[in-house]
Assembly symmetry: C2
Homo-oligomer: 271 residues x 2
């Protein structure tokens, strides 16, 4: 039993889809969220820069005394070296492995699709994770670099022309490959799940990486005896590296409630 | 006469439209470009963060011995305090004042439009600069937050559906206002000038802020006696805070030539 907060981080806002799921699964836990809004997005940056930023994010949460870390950013989960995350003093769960496992459970025809940022696709992390679970799978990965800015600007409607035009273009190779399971390998994408499902057609299972990360974190806490005493009403505090206003505004899109009082901006000093 | 290089900076790539124009206007000058590609885009960030980043960019160029600075980023030009830029040890030219002056020269009906990032529009910089030149102008400003990511992902064609759909939406209030002059208040936008011109219709003059910044810088150097001895074949060196590969690739879109050999990545140490 451990009453310290759980740490969750993301390059920006996307990880809030994990927070929503964690708050549902573990309503008594305190959560400490860090969104690196002064340097988001990570998904178009180079590997070295993503590793540097990811390590800074982890160290920031450790310095605030968290008992476990959920990396709710697919880009960072795909890029932080395993020997670094394995050596951390608290359990570390990334959304990539959690989502790969869920996809393997869901697929019937063995054809799995992955949509994600350019950096996640380039890293090959999903293909490696899926291969390790089942070497016979056919995996098709497609970078969708414009989904994040489009979503962050509030274009999320099922029939929004910009969303449907991009979905048609980005999802064509996945439809062609005949996937029956599609990993939303970026925690922003659940906000446009309806448009994605419409384009993919019926019979394709969508895997929400933010929610899968939350489930895997619960499992890790249970396994390590780190859940806190049962109660309800856990608190969520949000730390952001840019101003809190933008975050509170767009964050409400993700969480469906007002965040204003719980957002703490501070300046991130890079090493 | 001064043979030191000219410094040009931008949050990322957009300033290359200024570099192209400077190289045409002053072919003998050496240029030193800094693009903060590890933290781009600035246009959606808060005022405090933009000021912090902009000052770091300026200090980086000063430390490398430039004789003048062109701030080729409308967002930073709109946000850095005038008492800071006026106190710098070398001439500093921002694209906002240069573009406002060009728009005032161009307009016939006194109705001027501005399209720019969210931060530039929110700052009110163009409206203030235009007002100071002519208090009788009617200014309509519209933030176009998705143009930058769309352009950086290579969607620049005149009939590209994503570009034309966004142009229709973003430009509607400017057409309604009857502007005869439209400031492209972000140095990315010249890459989609054709689609913007098509949507605005004939009789609307587009003002390229990157090119206007270059013209104003030439004027400032002439005025201060800082041009170098006449020659051709000035060198351009590019410094970027993220990996050089992405920059060289997308940068070729802006400059129309291969940059690979002249790009130097380095780690930006924030204070």
């Amino acid at each position: 039993m451990d009453n310290r907060p759980i740490g969750v981080f993301d390059s920006g806002l996307g990880g809030l889809t994990s927070v929503r799921e964690l708050a549902r699964l573990l309503p008594g836990e305190d959560l400490l969220y860090f969104g690196d809004t002064a340097r988001t997005p990570y998904g178009s940056r180079s590997r070295d820069t993503i590793i540097r930023y990811g390590r800074e994010d982890v160290e920031l949460l450790l310095a605030r005394g968290v008992k476990a870390i959920l990396c709710a950013c697919n880009t960072v989960s795909s890029t932080l070296p395993a020997d670094y995350t394995a050596g951390l003093p608290v359990p570390f769960v990334g959304v990539v492995d959690a989502s790969a496992a869920a996809a393997v459970r869901a697929t019937k025809n063995g054809r799995i699709g992955v949509i994600a940022t350019a950096a996640t696709v380039k890293s090959g992390s999903y293909t490696r994770a899926l291969d390790a679970l089942d070497g016979s799978l056919a995996v098709t990965a497609k970078a969708c670099p414009l989904f994040v800015p489009v979503i962050e600007n509030g274009y999320v409607g099922r029939e929004e022309p910009i969303v449907t035009a991009l979905a048609r273009e980005y999802l064509a190779p996945l439809k062609e490959a005949g996937v029956d399971t599609l990993i939303l390998g970026c925690t922003h994408y659940p906000l446009i799940a309806e448009a994605i499902a419409d384009e993919m057609g019926p019979g394709v299972t969508l895997i929400d990486s933010g929610a899968q990360g939350a489930l895997a974190l619960r499992g890790a806490l249970e396994g390590a005896g780190l859940l806190r005493a049962r109660r309800s009403g856990g608190e969520v505090q949000f730390y952001v590296s840019d101003s809190g206003e933008n975050f509170a505004e767009v964050g409400s899109l993700f969480l469906g409630k007002d965040l204003a009082g719980a957002v703490h901006p501070f300046t991130l000093a890079a090493p």
